[in-house]
């Protein structure tokens, strides 16, 4: 079974993020990059499926030079090889251009499964997996909280507010996973050493599709810093604390 797992480098979740003044896109240079948290679950699921069914896992990332660290992290966790799509022309790509680039790179490579995290912590749109599935004309099994593979049948539990739906497709298919699905492993020190010797290929953006900021279908006209947090209200409990808290919440139209 040949599995691609798509991983994205995002700014450290806890770091203060900024938009750059020049092109109004996220300033990725000034903060530490980490693997998007949900993508760790995607890597884990890919590794679990590989361990149960044999095969190989290829980690794929589109992003600036620094994003190679994230591909390497996937290799350290246990992926067999990596592809880093890196090209100046890709800077500022929106989700459509990203999906097109990933789809063009993944197309016709014999992947049985293409696995994603269901959203990235920086953009939070959850659309790239579905778009890639559409572009590749593959069934999409998104928001999976459980995946089972039986021959060429893939069944997932699709997370919903009311519980889950069971959705089935045959391979090749695209899957996106939610946090509930597993507990990602740490890379081991042996994994760190082994990753040094694993193939990691840098490839340019596939030609033909308009990508990058100029192709984006959205435009940021203006942005402002989030206002500083206002001082909180301190309520002393002199026996009427509960009432005062309730009054406060009512005043804020929260209850």
């Amino acid at each position: 079974m040949k599995i691609a797992v798509c991983v994205k480098q995002v700014p450290d979740t806890w770091a203060e993020k900024k938009l750059s003044d020049s092109d109004k896109t996220l300033d990725r240079e000034s903060v530490d990059g980490v693997m998007n948290e949900l993508d760790e679950y995607a890597v884990e699921e890919a590794l679990l499926i590989k361990e149960a069914n044999d095969g190989e896992v290829v980690a794929v990332s589109m992003g600036p030079d620094k994003a190679e660290e994230t591909v390497r992290k996937a290799l350290q966790m246990g992926a067999d090889s990596g592809i880093h799509i890196v090209d100046d022309s890709l800077a500022g790509s929106d989700s459509v251009a990203t999906a097109k680039t990933l789809a063009a790179t993944l197309k016709d490579q014999g992947y049985d499964l293409i696995i994603f995290g269901s959203e990235s912590t920086d953009a939070r749109m959850s659309v790239v997996p579905a778009m890639v599935a559409e572009l590749l004309d593959l069934p999409q099994l998104t928001f999976a909280s459980k995946v089972s593979v039986d021959g060429d049948a893939v069944t997932i539990q699709r997370q919903a507010d009311y519980g889950y739906d069971e959705v089935q497709a045959s391979t090749p298919a695209v899957i996106s996973v939610v946090e509930k699905i597993n507990e990602p492993r740490y890379p081991s020190f042996k994994g760190i050493m082994a990753a040094k010797k694993k193939p990691l290929e840098s490839v340019a953006a596939p030609s033909g599709e308009p990508v990058g900021l100029a192709s984006a279908r959205t435009e940021i006209l203006e942005f402002a810093e989030r206002p500083p947090k206002a001082a909180g209200v301190k309520i002393e409990d002199d026996g009427t604390g509960g009432v005062k808290v309730a009054d406060f919440l009512a005043e804020q139209k929260l209850i």
Partner: protein, 382 residues
Amino acid sequence: MRLLERPLPTPEARDLLDLTRQIAAERCDTQTVNRFEGEARFPREVFDVLGETGLLSLPYPEELGGGGQPFEVYLQVIEELAGAWLAVGLGVSVHVLSCFPMVNYGTPEQQAEWLPRMLGGRTVGAYCLSEPDSGSDAAALRTTAASTETGFVVNGAKGWVTHGGVADYYNLMVRTGGPGARGISCLLAPAGTDGLQAARPEQKMGMAASPTATINLDEVELPASALLGEPGEGFRIAMAALDSGRLGIAACAVGVAQAALDVAADYASTRQQFGRSISEFQGIGFLLADMGASIEAARSLLLDAARAKDAGRDFGAAAAAAKLTATQTAMSVTTEAVQILGGVGYTKEFPVERYMREAKVLQIVEGTTQVQRLVLARALTS
């Protein structure tokens, strides 16, 4: 905040430190630490994670199942762990110490039996030198091992054993010959051996999650293959192990000091008094400056000693100097950190009071401050 970037020799070392920081942040978070310390519970699950990721055997050769990392890198891993939770950082250092006799003095047959377990990440070890009546004067120990037809029978008690009661095996320094250092041998006893019993853990000032207990030894029968090295070589083995172990304790001290400085610097820049942040008062700013400078000095000395060891040069005196300096630094930096936080520094709302209690033990274990001075004075005058 560090004044100097970590000196890491390879990209893998950098990734290893990133991994360590991630595990420390996720598994040794304040809530977990406070819960285990409060309940005086040994965090075995953290050691399991460290074992699975290969962090319990970093400085030993790859051929033997270790990580093959230089001490320079291994000690920085210890530093990060100790800064998050001393019971874990010191525990890893003691585990590594407990593998030292087998790695360096075990026969190929002994190593084949033991090293997969010791370096495989699923066990935790203990090192038993001190006794209730022999601490600094360790060579005066009284636990005896009499020869029998099949091996040894051990009687006595080892005191202050880190991981006593939770360890999977115990390195026992015991008397097999006459008085003094030359009469001491090193035996390895698995937990669960008949007659080997841990007493109730000591109730300590800090590091409650790291059990310290007396190990009572009552007619403990061990096979001849339990002997590591030659009969009478035990004290030399114990001291050689401590030379390396002291570097581990010094790394713990730097980690605790750095953690205290980080909290103090952060607090000082946000706490307002007299209309400005207290870091703007020179009395506080200079204090932070001195703390930062002394931590860098201790870390540099420590890593210099580590590099000497990695290069195969003599490092015993440098290790003593590093342990002396780093633990004094930890004590003074953590004390000042409490001062900088004022009232809240003295409460459990912030971790600095814990750091201060943790720093103290580092001036006592693996040779007190005074014993390091004895080692240094001897080195300087010999």
